[in-house]
Symmetry: C2
Subunit: 273 residues, 2 copies
């Protein structure tokens, strides 16, 4: 079980209902230990103002979502490099535990996965240089293989760690149970990652049936992911960070009273994690 | 490019339009090299009658779909063992190159993936014994990780080959590009499989966006899978079998004139494979 102070709210979970100021207040009201803003909400509020409000609320920042998207143009553009530099700066401003990277899939019309993966590694190397100078950790988020075409050509933790091995210090992984729960190698790869490279741990649930590839994630306990088992493997490596709740759910949780959503998160942290 | 005689029709591709007799005639009419029936269609026609019709049409049988489903009851029941024996017998009757196994996901209410995987291996061992006696090859089909909960807890070729390594001769894999194209280890695992254990090779395409987890597969060339690249890796191992076209598509291909579907398959075999 996870008590509320071990949980962090990824703002995507209530993206339709609350702005960032409301999310911060909501986390404080429900006793959550942290928050992880998306950049659109952060920029809307202003990173400095958000940093103050988060500090005043006395909560942590488990991550900033998200940098990456290196592949959209089929080459590494200055625009995408610059945008990732700004993401690093924003992560530094709010004191985020890491900058979460959704690396990008195939460019329009491309079928070249190996080419996309090479671009991603080049892009990450560029972002990492600035991130190291700013003291920001870069966390590659392997996405579920069903997003390999359009969102992330890094699909497994093992693949993410291969990249980390090549790029060196300051880069690790954001592990989201939704993306990795099916992986027969997940225990071995979490052990390989070790404490230092498990930079974030996201939770939600996989619903059966899943009705939409993107926006039908479940609340912890409503699906088939054995969250306690995966959590235990991470904690055996020394993981003691926050558990960040990120639920995309346009037919269910995004339609509810956000205070009900947060109360449910707190309850399910205790009963289903 | 693949000429028509290198292609096989998985009957699921026209399951809404044709019975098995019509599928066999359609394959002959369009010059396809083979067919792969689903068991419901085979049983409807009768395995002996189907075997005769297929022989008369002069086409091959790239597989029988499908055995497996070992996990549904949360334990290995005699009913499921017996049903898989019958599947082996049917495969022998029609001279199928292999019996394709969709191994099953989690039982209702279960979150125990390791337990499901153990059941699957026990079930496969049981089926394999009978299959060896009948001279039928057993082909594990790793399914896309998005089916790990409800259809197959074997999600990668590497995982399938680990099982094969433990079970010995007569068992290999059915490789479907739809399920494995995203896998960063696919080249290495196809090489590890070798000619003998690549028992079937299925083709279709991954659409972006994909609107449904089950029934929105694309025709070769309409999506993002680099079929020629994957095919080249298999052929480098000596693969010289048929390429079986299996498309689930309730909004598109299942609504079309099946002769148009087969003509398109033949055309795309030449242009997109």
């Amino acid at each position: 079980m996870l008590t509320a102070d071990r949980l962090s709210l990824n703002t995507a979970t209530v993206k339709e209902q609350w702005n960032l100021a409301q999310c911060i207040e909501g986390c404080a009201r429900h006793g959550l230990g942290g928050i992880s803003p998306w950049r659109d909400k952060l920029q809307e509020m202003g990173a400095e103002a958000a940093a103050r409000a988060i500090r005043d609320a006395g909560i942590g920042v488990s991550g900033l979502c998200r940098g990456g998207w290196y592949t959209a143009e089929g080459r590494l553009t200055q625009a995408v490099i610059d945008d990732n530099r700004r993401a690093v700066d924003e992560a530094a401003t709010i004191g985020a535990d890491c900058l979460v990277m959704v690396v990008g899939g195939l460019a329009a019309g491309s079928r070249d996965l190996p080419g996309a993966r090479a671009l991603v590694e080049e892009g990450l190397a560029s972002t990492l240089e600035h991130a190291r100078a700013c003291g920001v950790k870069v966390a590659i988020e392997p996405l579920h293989p069903m997003y390999a075409g359009d969102r992330a050509c890094v699909s497994t933790l093992g693949q993410a760690l291969d990249i980390c091995d090549r790029l060196g210090a300051g880069i690790g992984a954001a592990v989201d149970v939704y993306h990795v729960w099916w992986d027969p190698a997940i225990e071995a790869q979490l052990a390989r990652a070790g404490r230092e490279r498990i930079m974030a741990f996201h939770i939600c649930d996989w619903l059966v049936p899943t009705k939409d590839l993107l926006n039908d994630r479940g609340m912890m306990g409503d699906g088939v992911i054995d969250i306690p088992r995966l959590r235990a493997v991470a904690e055996a490596q020394g993981y003691d960070g926050l558990y960040e709740v990120e639920i995309f759910s346009d037919q269910d949780w995004w339609t509810r009273d956000p205070d009900e959503v947060l109360a449910t998160i707190v309850k399910r942290g205790r009963s289903a994690c």
